[in-house]
Structures are given as C-alpha cells and as structure tokens.
C-alpha cells in the first residue's frame, strides 16, 4: 500500500512528463544539433558544419532587418496594447448594461481567427478600393498607403494586432480592477483629490501585478506574430514586415536551409530568455502585491 502511494503521483504524471520530454525538451536539443549542420530536407546526408550557420547569421543583412522589424513590432504592440486596454478598462469599469455590451463588442475580435481578421483588414486597408481610405477621403483627411508602402506597412500590421488583442487585455484588467478591495475603492471615492492623482498613487500600484502579467504575455505574443504577416503582407513590401517566425519559416520551408533556420531559432530563443530574465530582475520587484 505504501509502495503504491509513493509511486502513484508519478503514474498520474507520466503522460504529461513523457509528452514534455518528447515534444518540448527533445525538439530543443534536436534544434541545437540541426543548427550545427547543413541540410536541405531532401539530401539523405546531413553535413556537420560546426558554427558555420551562426557565422552566416552575423553576415546576413536580412537577419538584422528582421531583428529591427521584430523590435519595432514589439515596441508598437506591447506598450500600445497595454496603454489602450488600460484606458478602455478604466472607462468600461461600470455596472451599466451599455458598458457590458461595449466590453463584449471589443472582445469579439479575440474569438475570431487571425485568418479572418487579417483578410478583412487587408481589404479595409486596400489603398485604392479599401473602405478606410474611402472614409478618410470623405472626411477630407490625407489617405494612407497602409500595407502597400514599406513606410506604413509595419504600423498597419501593428494596428491590426493591437485591435485584435485589446479586448482580451481589457477583460483581464477589468477583473484586476474588480479585485481591488471594496474598502480601497470607497476610500478612493471619498478622497477629494483629482482622479489622476488617485489613479497613479492607488489604482496603478494595485493593478501592477496584473499589468506585469499582461506585459509578459504581450511580449511573448509579439515574438510569435505570423498569421497576420503571412496573409496581409507576405513579409513585404521590400522585407519591411519580415519578423522572426516568418523569417524562420521562410528559410526552413521556402529556401530549405534547415541548419540556418535552426540557428536563427536558437539565437532568438536566447534573446527571449535574456529578455525574460531582465523582466523578472528589474520589473517584477517594482510590482506591488496587495
């Protein structure tokens, strides 16, 4: 019986642990190995090339453009999403039916496939027959080339990403606001100081764990963007919207450079790991836990 008890937890965990080993850890190791080889998917011989792929990364101009694009996308979407959704949550944090309905409305894009979202926006943003430019023209405002120009393409994709995720973030911030205890909210109401003051001194610090969590999620998500880019811009125009995942996909399945694609994945995994460490070092201790 006691023997059964000591073994039991491991038995229950077995499927999960086998899966973790096979589908999460082994691929990582496999990828490190692949990054040291040269292979085109077809040739039966996988050639070991040492650090050659990493050297090629250093000398690849497209890699730096991609890194810059990814960073710009990160800078546009992460603060953008969090700022917009915080403001929306503060506005929608009321019990009235109309506020509830508006919350449902802004959440709708979250449940719809990025395929549909990208295709609808591709059309809305069409420079000549798109509705967006039509409305801008009707309002006598300057029109934009949106995704058709390398100057505005990244911003356009970022707008679509922010638009898609704002509802999800707003809901989580709303629940964060709801969990700030009633006494504190009463005290805030009685306080005659301006709203801005109470927001920065009371609400924001109490909301900081939620915002940190969202910051973390948004950062990881910004590195995973693919569908929008594949469908709306195909990485262009002139490579202006080529970001990490698209870049790796492009090299692996269009140029069949498995080794190089793997090396890029490893480098970016390291960048991601470094970023997460920095987050927890420098931001998490500024987060206020109630």
């Amino acid at each position: 019986m006691t023997r059964f008890k000591t073994v039991f937890p491991y038995v229950l965990l077995l499927p999960t642990m086998v899966w973790l080993a096979v589908f999460a850890l082994y691929p990582l190791g496999y990828m490190v190995y692949l990054s040291l080889t040269s292979w085109d998917l077809i040739n039966p011989n996988i050639e070991f090339v040492g650090l050659q792929n990493y050297m090629n990364i250093v000398n690849n101009a497209r890699f730096y453009t991609m890194l810059e694009n990814t960073f710009i996308f990160f800078l546009l979407t992460v603060p953008g999403t969090i700022l917009v959704s915080t403001l929306l949550a503060l506005w929608l944090f009321k019990k009235r039916l109309i506020h509830q309905l508006a919350t449902s409305a802004i959440f709708t894009p979250h449940i719809i496939s990025l395929v549909s979202v990208s295709m609808v926006w591709l059309w809305l943003m069409d420079p000549s027959i798109g509705l967006l430019n039509y409305i801008l023209g009707w309002l006598n405002l300057p029109q934009s080339d949106w995704i058709a120009s390398s100057k505005t393409s990244m911003l356009s994709v970022a707008i679509v990403s922010i638009w898609k995720s704002v509802g999800f973030f707003t809901l989580i911030i709303l629940s964060g606001l709801g969990r700030i205890s009633n006494e504190i909210q009463e005290a805030v109401k009685l306080d005659s100081r301006p709203n801005v003051y109470t927001f920065f001194k009371i609400t924001l610090p109490l909301l900081s764990p939620t915002l940190f969590f969202l910051f973390f999620i948004a950062s990881i998500a910004s590195f995973q963007v693919f569908d929008t880019i594949q469908i709306m811009t195909n990485g262009g125009p002139a490579g202006s919207t080529t970001t990490i995942v698209f870049f790796i996909y492009d090299y692996a399945f269009r140029h069949f450079q498995i080794g190089f694609a793997s090396a890029v994945s490893i480098v970016l995994m390291l960048i991601l790991a470094l970023m997460m460490t920095l987050y927890f070092r420098f931001i998490s201790n500024k987060v206020h836990y109630q």
């Binding site: 000591t6 039991f8 937890p9 491991y10 229950l12 965990l13 499927p15 999960t16 642990m17 899966w19 973790l20 589908f23 999460a24 082994y26 691929p27 496999y30 692949l34 929306l88 109309i98 508006a102 449902s104 409305a105 959440f107 709708t108 894009p109 449940i111 496939s113 990025l114 395929v115 549909s116 295709m119 609808v120 809305l124 027959i129 999800f168 809901l171 989580i172 709303l174 629940s175 964060g176 969990r179 939620t210 590195f223 995973q224 693919f226 569908d227 594949q230 469908i231 990490i244 995942v245 996909y249 692996a252 399945f253 498995i258 694609a261 793997s262 994945s265 970016l268 995994m269 991601l272």
Partner: protein, 294 residues
C-alpha cells in the same frame, strides 16, 4: 404670504434639480454615443464581412461600396463549398479540435491534482519544467517537430496536428491554482468513505473545478479551431488541411476580385465561435477574467 415664500424658496431648488438631472442625462447620452462608436469600431469589420458575403459578385466590387446588399445573395457560400474540399476541411478541423480537447482534459486534470495535493521527490523541478514549456513558443521549435513527424512517417496523417498539443502546460498551471484552494480534508473524507483515487478525482475534484476546466477548454477551443500556422507547417496535401487554411487559400485561388466568396469562407470559419460567444458571452468573459487571477 406663507405660500409665496415657500414657492420662492422651492423654485430655484426645482430648477437646480432639473439642471442636475438634465446634465446627468446629457452626460449619459454622450457616453452612450461614445460607447456605441467604440463598439462599432470593433464589430463593424465582422459585420462588413457578413454583408459582403451576402452581396452579388458585381456588387462586392462597386466603389464606393454599398453598405447593405441590394439583393441578398447566398450564392457565394455555395461557391466556397465548390471551390475546394471544404467538407474535408471542416471534418479535419472538428476531429483535430475534439481530439486535442479530450486529450488535454485527460492529461491536465490528474497532473494539476498531483502538483497541487501530493508531496513527492522532484515535484518542484517537474513543475518548473511545465512552467518553462509554457514560455517556449511552438512557433520557434516547429522545424525539429516537423522533422520528428517526418521521421516517424506521420506527415500523411492528422497526428502531427494533434500530438504536439495533447498536453496543455498553461491548463495544468491554471487548474493547479484552483485545486490548491480546495481544503485537503475534502479528499481525505472521500478516501475514508472508501472512494479510490479515480472516484475521488471524478466525483469530488471534477465538480469543484468545473469552471476552471470549462475555461481551459474554451480557450483551447478558440486557439485550435483558429490555428493557421501549425496546419500550414505540418500538412502538404489538401486532404489533411483544416478550415483556416482552406479559407486563407480562397484569396490565392480567386485573386483579389471575388471578395464576396472570400468573406463567405470567413463567415463559415467564424460562425461556430460567434454562436458560442453569443450563447455564452458572460461565461466566456468570466473565463478570460479568470486567467488573470494568479
């Protein structure tokens, strides 16, 4: 005299009340208008998608565009269905999502239970592994996963679309948080009553964590029904593709000219989720709010 005095006192009182009420109503009216604008900003693109799908091919091309279809036209839906093996796409999507959800349920509940309520060697380390896999995005490890599936000769089946998702680290994490809050005595009482581990889990644990389980399942459903990247990477033939890929291909097949057909395809893709959302919007919103709780 008395009367006059009273009215002269009450008069400004009433008008002040009136001004206050008016201002309150005007404020509410303005806020309602602003809220409607906000709602339209987020819902209109999908409304536009549906309206365009219902237009005739000629009308979908008119510029400046019409808002409402002049003639209601369901032809584009038939055209979507005939343009490719959409029945197969739909079946594949349903099979994959059902398999993933069932497998995640079977693996996540016992794992979360063990991590929350058992003490054993290596527990912290194993849980850390689960957390780590939560952070490693599969979008970065798809190359080795593709090659593994290729070596195992699974690429001509739906298995590569299911296997990498049968465990949900995020789900385990979320369920564990919930189970931690249930007092141990409850499980002990069940065991004293003679219930085995299996029955304890099924009859005591599962009913108590039902909202959390529904949350995990709903979020998983949304993710995998909508997934475009993974089927794109893992499939080479039409027979294995899913609805999002089929719909995305409509644009390539039809060029930029048949927007009514493209939008009809997107309507088919979005419909199950929109129905789910409309029937369950409160539950779904609570589920999302729930993920923010740590």
């Amino acid at each position: 005299m008395d009367r006059v005095g009273r009215t002269s006192v009450q008069q400004p009182e009433i008008s002040r009340n009136l001004v206050f009420k008016l201002r309150k109503h005007a404020g509410l009216a303005i806020e309602s208008i602003l809220l409607s604008v906000l709602a339209i900003l987020f819902v209109f693109p999908f409304l536009w998608m549906v309206l365009t799908a219902l237009k005739s091919p000629e009308e979908a091309l008119i510029f400046p565009p019409t808002l409402m279809p002049q003639t209601w036209n369901f032809q584009s839906f038939a055209e979507v269905w005939q343009s490719g093996p959409f029945g197969t796409y739909l079946t594949n999507s349903v099979v994959i999502v059902a398999a993933i959800l069932a497998a995640q349920l079977i693996t996540a509940v016992p794992s979360a239970y063990v991590f929350a309520k058992y003490r054993f060697k290596g527990k912290e380390f194993l849980f850390l592994l689960v957390l780590l896999t939560m952070i490693i995005p599969s979008q970065l490890t798809f190359v080795p996963l593709y090659l593994m599936m290729s070596e195992w000769q699974l690429l001509d089946s739906l298995v590569p679309l299911i296997l990498p998702f049968v465990v949900t680290p995020f789900g385990i994490f979320l369920l564990r948080q919930q189970i931690l809050q249930i007092p141990d005595e409850l499980f002990e009482a069940a065991k004293i009553d003679g219930a085995g581990e299996g029955r304890t889990m099924y009859h005591v644990l599962l009913p108590m964590i039902k909202p959390a389980v529904v949350t995990v399942m709903l979020l998983s459903f949304i993710t995998h029904w909508n997934d475009y990247f993974w089927p794109l990477v893992m499939t080479n033939t039409m027979e294995l593709r899913t609805l999002p890929l089929g719909v995305a291909n409509l644009k390539g097949l039809e060029g930029n000219s048949k927007w009514n057909v493209v939008m009809a395809g997107n309507c088919i893709l979005a419909l199950p989720l929109l129905i789910l959302f409309m029937l369950n919007s409160k539950r779904l919103k609570e589920s999302i709010a729930f993920t923010g709780v740590k």
